[in-house]
Subunit: 207 residues, 2 copies
Protein backbone atom coordinates (compact mmCIF):
# COMPACT_ATOMS: atom_id res chain seq x y z
CA UNK A 1 0.00 0.00 0.00
CA UNK A 2 1.25 3.44 -0.88
CA UNK A 3 0.71 6.35 1.42
CA UNK A 4 1.04 9.93 0.36
CA UNK A 5 2.78 11.75 3.15
CA UNK A 6 2.51 15.47 3.16
CA UNK A 7 -0.93 15.77 1.66
CA UNK A 8 -3.31 15.37 4.59
CA UNK A 9 -4.98 18.69 3.78
CA UNK A 10 -6.50 17.13 0.67
CA UNK A 11 -8.27 14.40 2.62
CA UNK A 12 -12.05 14.47 2.62
CA UNK A 13 -12.05 17.01 -0.22
CA UNK A 14 -13.03 15.82 -3.63
CA UNK A 15 -10.04 15.55 -5.93
CA UNK A 16 -10.59 16.22 -9.59
CA UNK A 17 -8.50 15.41 -12.56
CA UNK A 18 -9.34 16.86 -15.96
CA UNK A 19 -11.50 13.85 -16.82
CA UNK A 20 -13.77 13.98 -13.78
CA UNK A 21 -13.97 17.77 -14.02
CA UNK A 22 -15.05 17.45 -17.65
CA UNK A 23 -17.75 14.90 -16.74
CA UNK A 24 -19.28 17.29 -14.19
CA UNK A 25 -19.01 20.27 -16.56
CA UNK A 26 -20.77 18.40 -19.38
CA UNK A 27 -23.57 17.31 -17.04
CA UNK A 28 -24.02 20.93 -15.96
CA UNK A 29 -23.94 22.26 -19.55
CA UNK A 30 -26.64 19.75 -20.49
CA UNK A 31 -28.82 20.73 -17.52
CA UNK A 32 -28.54 24.51 -17.78
CA UNK A 33 -27.29 25.09 -21.31
CA UNK A 34 -23.70 26.00 -22.17
CA UNK A 35 -24.47 29.74 -22.31
CA UNK A 36 -26.39 29.55 -19.04
CA UNK A 37 -23.51 27.95 -17.10
CA UNK A 38 -20.72 30.13 -15.68
CA UNK A 39 -17.33 29.01 -14.33
CA UNK A 40 -18.71 30.27 -11.01
CA UNK A 41 -21.60 27.76 -11.27
CA UNK A 42 -19.12 25.03 -12.12
CA UNK A 43 -16.85 25.88 -9.20
CA UNK A 44 -19.83 25.75 -6.80
CA UNK A 45 -20.95 22.41 -8.23
CA UNK A 46 -17.44 20.95 -7.92
CA UNK A 47 -16.82 22.43 -4.49
CA UNK A 48 -13.44 23.81 -5.61
CA UNK A 49 -12.26 27.32 -6.42
CA UNK A 50 -12.27 28.77 -9.91
CA UNK A 51 -8.48 28.93 -9.87
CA UNK A 52 -8.41 25.19 -9.13
CA UNK A 53 -10.47 24.73 -12.31
CA UNK A 54 -8.14 27.02 -14.28
CA UNK A 55 -5.29 24.78 -13.14
CA UNK A 56 -6.80 22.11 -15.45
CA UNK A 57 -8.33 24.13 -18.30
CA UNK A 58 -7.81 27.70 -19.50
CA UNK A 59 -11.50 28.45 -20.20
CA UNK A 60 -15.10 27.32 -20.32
CA UNK A 61 -14.80 27.21 -24.09
CA UNK A 62 -11.94 24.72 -23.77
CA UNK A 63 -14.19 22.43 -21.71
CA UNK A 64 -16.77 22.61 -24.49
CA UNK A 65 -14.10 21.87 -27.09
CA UNK A 66 -12.88 18.80 -25.20
CA UNK A 67 -16.47 17.56 -24.82
CA UNK A 68 -17.63 17.98 -28.41
CA UNK A 69 -14.30 16.63 -29.70
CA UNK A 70 -14.87 13.43 -27.78
CA UNK A 71 -18.32 13.00 -29.33
CA UNK A 72 -17.10 13.90 -32.81
CA UNK A 73 -14.01 11.72 -32.39
CA UNK A 74 -16.22 8.72 -31.67
CA UNK A 75 -18.49 9.35 -34.65
CA UNK A 76 -15.63 10.00 -37.09
CA UNK A 77 -13.80 6.88 -35.87
CA UNK A 78 -16.86 4.85 -36.89
CA UNK A 79 -16.99 6.68 -40.24
CA UNK A 80 -13.31 5.81 -40.82
CA UNK A 81 -13.93 2.13 -39.98
CA UNK A 82 -16.84 2.21 -42.40
CA UNK A 83 -14.63 3.35 -45.28
CA UNK A 84 -12.53 0.22 -44.86
CA UNK A 85 -15.47 -2.13 -45.42
CA UNK A 86 -15.43 -3.64 -48.89
CA UNK A 87 -18.54 -4.44 -50.81
CA UNK A 88 -21.84 -2.63 -51.02
CA UNK A 89 -22.56 0.90 -49.80
CA UNK A 90 -25.70 -0.27 -47.94
CA UNK A 91 -23.50 -2.49 -45.74
CA UNK A 92 -21.22 0.47 -44.98
CA UNK A 93 -24.28 2.60 -44.21
CA UNK A 94 -25.64 -0.05 -41.87
CA UNK A 95 -22.25 -0.30 -40.11
CA UNK A 96 -22.22 3.50 -39.71
CA UNK A 97 -25.73 3.53 -38.22
CA UNK A 98 -25.04 0.70 -35.77
CA UNK A 99 -21.65 2.13 -34.79
CA UNK A 100 -23.15 5.59 -34.26
CA UNK A 101 -25.79 4.16 -31.93
CA UNK A 102 -23.01 2.56 -29.86
CA UNK A 103 -21.05 5.84 -29.73
CA UNK A 104 -24.18 7.73 -28.66
CA UNK A 105 -24.88 5.27 -25.88
CA UNK A 106 -21.26 5.15 -24.67
CA UNK A 107 -20.72 8.90 -24.85
CA UNK A 108 -24.30 9.92 -24.12
CA UNK A 109 -23.70 13.24 -22.27
CA UNK A 110 -20.99 14.27 -24.75
CA UNK A 111 -23.13 13.61 -27.83
CA UNK A 112 -26.14 15.25 -26.14
CA UNK A 113 -24.06 18.40 -25.71
CA UNK A 114 -22.79 18.20 -29.30
CA UNK A 115 -26.34 17.98 -30.67
CA UNK A 116 -27.40 21.07 -28.71
CA UNK A 117 -24.55 23.25 -29.95
CA UNK A 118 -26.01 26.28 -31.73
CA UNK A 119 -23.02 28.15 -33.11
CA UNK A 120 -22.46 31.25 -30.97
CA UNK A 121 -18.72 30.73 -30.44
CA UNK A 122 -15.74 29.62 -32.51
CA UNK A 123 -15.74 26.18 -30.87
CA UNK A 124 -19.46 25.78 -31.58
CA UNK A 125 -19.12 26.86 -35.21
CA UNK A 126 -16.27 24.38 -35.69
CA UNK A 127 -18.41 21.62 -34.16
CA UNK A 128 -21.31 22.47 -36.46
CA UNK A 129 -18.98 22.36 -39.47
CA UNK A 130 -17.82 18.86 -38.48
CA UNK A 131 -21.43 17.74 -37.98
CA UNK A 132 -22.18 18.91 -41.53
CA UNK A 133 -19.16 16.95 -42.75
CA UNK A 134 -20.53 13.84 -41.02
CA UNK A 135 -23.96 14.45 -42.62
CA UNK A 136 -22.27 14.62 -46.03
CA UNK A 137 -20.61 11.24 -45.43
CA UNK A 138 -24.02 9.74 -44.59
CA UNK A 139 -25.72 11.36 -47.60
CA UNK A 140 -22.96 10.12 -49.94
CA UNK A 141 -23.40 6.56 -48.67
CA UNK A 142 -27.18 6.78 -49.18
CA UNK A 143 -26.65 8.07 -52.73
CA UNK A 144 -24.18 5.33 -53.53
CA UNK A 145 -26.45 2.62 -52.09
CA UNK A 146 -29.25 4.02 -54.20
CA UNK A 147 -27.09 3.88 -57.35
CA UNK A 148 -26.28 0.27 -56.49
CA UNK A 149 -30.02 -0.47 -56.33
CA UNK A 150 -30.07 -1.30 -52.62
CA UNK A 151 -31.87 1.77 -51.24
CA UNK A 152 -35.26 3.08 -52.33
CA UNK A 153 -34.76 5.76 -55.00
CA UNK A 154 -38.06 7.55 -54.33
CA UNK A 155 -36.80 9.75 -51.45
CA UNK A 156 -34.22 12.54 -51.69
CA UNK A 157 -30.96 11.06 -50.24
CA UNK A 158 -30.46 14.19 -48.09
CA UNK A 159 -33.92 13.68 -46.55
CA UNK A 160 -33.28 9.96 -46.08
CA UNK A 161 -30.00 10.58 -44.28
CA UNK A 162 -31.50 13.26 -42.02
CA UNK A 163 -34.43 11.03 -41.06
CA UNK A 164 -32.06 8.14 -40.45
CA UNK A 165 -29.86 10.13 -38.10
CA UNK A 166 -32.92 11.89 -36.66
CA UNK A 167 -33.89 8.46 -35.39
CA UNK A 168 -30.34 7.67 -34.16
CA UNK A 169 -29.88 11.06 -32.48
CA UNK A 170 -33.24 10.84 -30.72
CA UNK A 171 -31.53 8.40 -28.33
CA UNK A 172 -30.01 11.40 -26.54
CA UNK A 173 -33.56 12.52 -25.71
CA UNK A 174 -34.92 9.32 -24.26
CA UNK A 175 -32.30 6.59 -23.70
CA UNK A 176 -31.30 6.09 -20.10
CA UNK A 177 -28.49 3.62 -19.40
CA UNK A 178 -29.21 0.95 -16.78
CA UNK A 179 -32.86 0.84 -17.86
CA UNK A 180 -34.39 -1.12 -20.69
CA UNK A 181 -32.49 -2.20 -23.80
CA UNK A 182 -28.75 -2.91 -23.97
CA UNK A 183 -26.62 -0.89 -26.43
CA UNK A 184 -26.43 -3.91 -28.77
CA UNK A 185 -30.22 -4.37 -28.70
CA UNK A 186 -30.71 -0.69 -29.46
CA UNK A 187 -28.31 -0.79 -32.41
CA UNK A 188 -30.22 -3.83 -33.68
CA UNK A 189 -33.61 -2.10 -33.23
CA UNK A 190 -32.53 1.07 -35.04
CA UNK A 191 -30.99 -0.92 -37.86
CA UNK A 192 -34.04 -3.15 -38.33
CA UNK A 193 -36.52 -0.28 -38.36
CA UNK A 194 -34.37 1.94 -40.60
CA UNK A 195 -33.47 -0.70 -43.17
CA UNK A 196 -36.42 -3.09 -43.11
CA UNK A 197 -39.23 -1.03 -41.57
CA UNK A 198 -41.80 -1.74 -38.89
CA UNK A 199 -44.22 -3.56 -41.13
CA UNK A 200 -44.32 -7.33 -41.31
CA UNK A 201 -45.36 -8.63 -44.72
CA UNK A 202 -48.79 -10.33 -44.65
CA UNK A 203 -48.36 -13.98 -43.72
CA UNK A 204 -49.90 -16.57 -46.04
CA UNK A 205 -52.97 -18.02 -44.31
CA UNK A 206 -52.23 -21.55 -43.19
CA UNK A 207 -55.43 -23.61 -43.33
CA UNK B 1 -61.65 53.38 -47.30
CA UNK B 2 -61.81 53.71 -43.57
CA UNK B 3 -59.69 56.22 -41.73
CA UNK B 4 -59.09 56.08 -38.02
CA UNK B 5 -59.24 59.62 -36.74
CA UNK B 6 -57.60 60.25 -33.45
CA UNK B 7 -54.85 57.60 -33.70
CA UNK B 8 -52.09 59.28 -35.71
CA UNK B 9 -49.59 58.58 -32.92
CA UNK B 10 -49.77 54.86 -33.76
CA UNK B 11 -48.73 55.34 -37.36
CA UNK B 12 -45.39 53.86 -38.37
CA UNK B 13 -45.27 51.85 -35.17
CA UNK B 14 -45.75 48.12 -35.35
CA UNK B 15 -49.15 47.05 -34.10
CA UNK B 16 -49.34 43.68 -32.38
CA UNK B 17 -52.27 41.54 -31.57
CA UNK B 18 -51.88 38.51 -29.32
CA UNK B 19 -51.17 36.24 -32.31
CA UNK B 20 -48.31 38.25 -33.79
CA UNK B 21 -46.89 38.87 -30.32
CA UNK B 22 -46.95 35.12 -29.66
CA UNK B 23 -45.16 34.41 -32.95
CA UNK B 24 -42.30 36.74 -32.03
CA UNK B 25 -42.12 35.41 -28.46
CA UNK B 26 -41.88 31.80 -29.65
CA UNK B 27 -39.13 32.68 -32.13
CA UNK B 28 -37.20 34.38 -29.33
CA UNK B 29 -37.73 31.48 -26.89
CA UNK B 30 -36.41 29.08 -29.54
CA UNK B 31 -33.35 31.26 -30.19
CA UNK B 32 -32.36 32.02 -26.60
CA UNK B 33 -34.18 29.40 -24.59
CA UNK B 34 -37.33 30.06 -22.56
CA UNK B 35 -35.38 30.57 -19.31
CA UNK B 36 -32.89 32.80 -21.08
CA UNK B 37 -35.54 35.20 -22.44
CA UNK B 38 -36.96 37.96 -20.22
CA UNK B 39 -40.06 40.09 -20.85
CA UNK B 40 -37.52 42.94 -21.16
CA UNK B 41 -35.84 41.09 -24.09
CA UNK B 42 -39.24 40.52 -25.67
CA UNK B 43 -40.25 44.16 -25.30
CA UNK B 44 -36.98 45.26 -26.97
CA UNK B 45 -37.51 42.79 -29.81
CA UNK B 46 -41.10 43.95 -30.36
CA UNK B 47 -40.27 47.63 -29.99
CA UNK B 48 -43.12 48.12 -27.51
CA UNK B 49 -43.19 48.64 -23.74
CA UNK B 50 -43.58 45.82 -21.27
CA UNK B 51 -46.94 47.22 -20.19
CA UNK B 52 -48.11 47.01 -23.82
CA UNK B 53 -47.22 43.30 -23.69
CA UNK B 54 -49.03 42.86 -20.37
CA UNK B 55 -52.08 44.36 -22.05
CA UNK B 56 -52.22 41.10 -24.09
CA UNK B 57 -50.87 38.46 -21.68
CA UNK B 58 -50.41 38.41 -17.91
CA UNK B 59 -47.01 36.67 -17.91
CA UNK B 60 -44.18 35.03 -19.81
CA UNK B 61 -45.44 31.69 -18.57
CA UNK B 62 -48.81 32.38 -20.21
CA UNK B 63 -47.04 32.91 -23.55
CA UNK B 64 -45.35 29.54 -23.11
CA UNK B 65 -48.68 27.93 -22.23
CA UNK B 66 -50.36 29.33 -25.35
CA UNK B 67 -47.46 28.15 -27.51
CA UNK B 68 -47.17 24.58 -26.22
CA UNK B 69 -50.98 24.24 -26.16
CA UNK B 70 -51.07 25.03 -29.85
CA UNK B 71 -48.50 22.32 -30.59
CA UNK B 72 -50.18 19.78 -28.31
CA UNK B 73 -53.62 20.73 -29.66
CA UNK B 74 -52.48 19.89 -33.17
CA UNK B 75 -50.95 16.56 -32.16
CA UNK B 76 -53.93 15.48 -30.05
CA UNK B 77 -56.35 16.47 -32.82
CA UNK B 78 -54.54 14.00 -35.09
CA UNK B 79 -54.64 11.36 -32.34
CA UNK B 80 -58.42 11.89 -32.02
CA UNK B 81 -58.89 11.56 -35.80
CA UNK B 82 -56.85 8.37 -35.64
CA UNK B 83 -59.20 6.80 -33.08
CA UNK B 84 -62.07 7.16 -35.54
CA UNK B 85 -60.35 5.07 -38.22
CA UNK B 86 -61.79 1.59 -38.43
CA UNK B 87 -59.74 -1.44 -39.33
CA UNK B 88 -56.19 -2.32 -38.42
CA UNK B 89 -54.00 -0.61 -35.82
CA UNK B 90 -51.11 -0.30 -38.28
CA UNK B 91 -53.30 1.94 -40.48
CA UNK B 92 -54.16 4.11 -37.48
CA UNK B 93 -50.47 4.26 -36.57
CA UNK B 94 -49.55 5.29 -40.09
CA UNK B 95 -52.24 7.99 -40.05
CA UNK B 96 -50.87 9.27 -36.73
CA UNK B 97 -47.32 9.42 -38.09
CA UNK B 98 -48.30 11.21 -41.30
CA UNK B 99 -50.63 13.60 -39.48
CA UNK B 100 -47.94 14.40 -36.89
CA UNK B 101 -45.46 15.27 -39.64
CA UNK B 102 -48.00 17.72 -41.09
CA UNK B 103 -48.60 19.30 -37.65
CA UNK B 104 -44.84 19.64 -37.08
CA UNK B 105 -44.35 21.34 -40.41
CA UNK B 106 -47.36 23.66 -40.03
CA UNK B 107 -46.60 24.58 -36.42
CA UNK B 108 -42.82 24.25 -36.63
CA UNK B 109 -41.75 26.93 -34.10
CA UNK B 110 -44.47 25.86 -31.64
CA UNK B 111 -43.57 22.17 -31.76
CA UNK B 112 -39.85 23.05 -31.60
CA UNK B 113 -40.53 24.91 -28.35
CA UNK B 114 -42.66 22.04 -27.01
CA UNK B 115 -39.87 19.52 -27.65
CA UNK B 116 -37.34 21.67 -25.76
CA UNK B 117 -39.48 22.05 -22.65
CA UNK B 118 -37.60 20.66 -19.65
CA UNK B 119 -40.01 20.89 -16.75
CA UNK B 120 -38.89 23.77 -14.51
CA UNK B 121 -42.33 25.40 -14.21
CA UNK B 122 -45.93 24.29 -13.77
CA UNK B 123 -46.68 24.95 -17.47
CA UNK B 124 -43.64 22.92 -18.52
CA UNK B 125 -44.50 20.01 -16.24
CA UNK B 126 -48.06 19.98 -17.62
CA UNK B 127 -46.67 19.96 -21.19
CA UNK B 128 -44.33 17.07 -20.35
CA UNK B 129 -47.25 15.12 -18.86
CA UNK B 130 -49.25 15.58 -22.08
CA UNK B 131 -46.24 14.51 -24.17
CA UNK B 132 -46.05 11.32 -22.12
CA UNK B 133 -49.79 10.79 -22.73
CA UNK B 134 -49.17 11.14 -26.48
CA UNK B 135 -46.26 8.65 -26.24
CA UNK B 136 -48.58 6.17 -24.52
CA UNK B 137 -51.10 6.49 -27.38
CA UNK B 138 -48.32 5.71 -29.88
CA UNK B 139 -47.00 2.79 -27.83
CA UNK B 140 -50.50 1.32 -27.48
CA UNK B 141 -51.02 1.47 -31.26
CA UNK B 142 -47.65 -0.24 -31.83
CA UNK B 143 -48.58 -2.99 -29.34
CA UNK B 144 -51.97 -3.50 -30.95
CA UNK B 145 -50.49 -3.62 -34.46
CA UNK B 146 -48.00 -6.18 -33.18
CA UNK B 147 -50.81 -8.32 -31.71
CA UNK B 148 -52.55 -8.12 -35.08
CA UNK B 149 -49.39 -9.45 -36.74
CA UNK B 150 -48.69 -6.29 -38.76
CA UNK B 151 -45.66 -4.94 -36.88
CA UNK B 152 -42.42 -6.78 -36.19
CA UNK B 153 -42.61 -8.38 -32.75
CA UNK B 154 -38.84 -8.48 -32.17
CA UNK B 155 -38.51 -4.92 -30.81
CA UNK B 156 -39.94 -3.58 -27.55
CA UNK B 157 -43.02 -1.48 -28.55
CA UNK B 158 -41.86 1.38 -26.31
CA UNK B 159 -38.51 1.47 -28.15
CA UNK B 160 -40.25 1.23 -31.53
CA UNK B 161 -42.55 4.15 -30.74
CA UNK B 162 -39.70 6.30 -29.44
CA UNK B 163 -37.57 5.64 -32.53
CA UNK B 164 -40.56 6.31 -34.77
CA UNK B 165 -41.27 9.68 -33.17
CA UNK B 166 -37.55 10.36 -32.84
CA UNK B 167 -37.52 10.36 -36.62
CA UNK B 168 -40.69 12.51 -36.85
CA UNK B 169 -39.51 15.00 -34.21
CA UNK B 170 -36.10 15.39 -35.86
CA UNK B 171 -37.89 17.57 -38.43
CA UNK B 172 -37.77 20.43 -35.93
CA UNK B 173 -33.96 20.21 -36.07
CA UNK B 174 -33.48 20.33 -39.83
CA UNK B 175 -36.65 21.07 -41.81
CA UNK B 176 -36.81 24.59 -43.24
CA UNK B 177 -40.03 25.60 -45.00
CA UNK B 178 -39.66 27.10 -48.49
CA UNK B 179 -36.68 24.84 -49.15
CA UNK B 180 -36.69 21.27 -50.35
CA UNK B 181 -39.55 18.84 -49.83
CA UNK B 182 -43.21 19.80 -49.46
CA UNK B 183 -45.04 18.77 -46.28
CA UNK B 184 -46.86 15.99 -48.17
CA UNK B 185 -43.58 14.64 -49.58
CA UNK B 186 -42.06 14.67 -46.10
CA UNK B 187 -45.01 12.79 -44.60
CA UNK B 188 -44.64 10.25 -47.42
CA UNK B 189 -40.87 9.90 -46.86
CA UNK B 190 -41.21 9.39 -43.10
CA UNK B 191 -44.00 6.88 -43.57
CA UNK B 192 -42.12 4.87 -46.23
CA UNK B 193 -38.90 4.68 -44.23
CA UNK B 194 -40.64 3.91 -40.93
CA UNK B 195 -43.01 1.26 -42.22
CA UNK B 196 -41.16 -0.27 -45.15
CA UNK B 197 -37.52 0.65 -44.51
CA UNK B 198 -34.75 2.02 -46.69
CA UNK B 199 -33.75 -1.27 -48.21
CA UNK B 200 -35.01 -2.37 -51.60
CA UNK B 201 -35.40 -6.13 -51.91
CA UNK B 202 -32.85 -7.66 -54.31
CA UNK B 203 -34.21 -7.54 -57.86
CA UNK B 204 -34.27 -10.79 -59.81
CA UNK B 205 -31.46 -10.66 -62.40
CA UNK B 206 -32.90 -10.13 -65.88
CA UNK B 207 -30.63 -11.72 -68.51
Amino acid sequence: MTTTPGSPARRGRPGYDLESLLQVAVRLFNERGYDGTSMEDLSRKLGITKSAIYHHVPSKQELLRLAVDRALGGLFAVAAETEGIEGRAIDRLEHLVRGSVLVLVEQLPFVTLLLRVRGNTKVERAALARRREFDRIVTELVKQAETEGDVRPDIDPAVTSRLLFGMVNSLTEWYRPRRGSSPAELAEAVSKIAFDGLRLPPQPASA
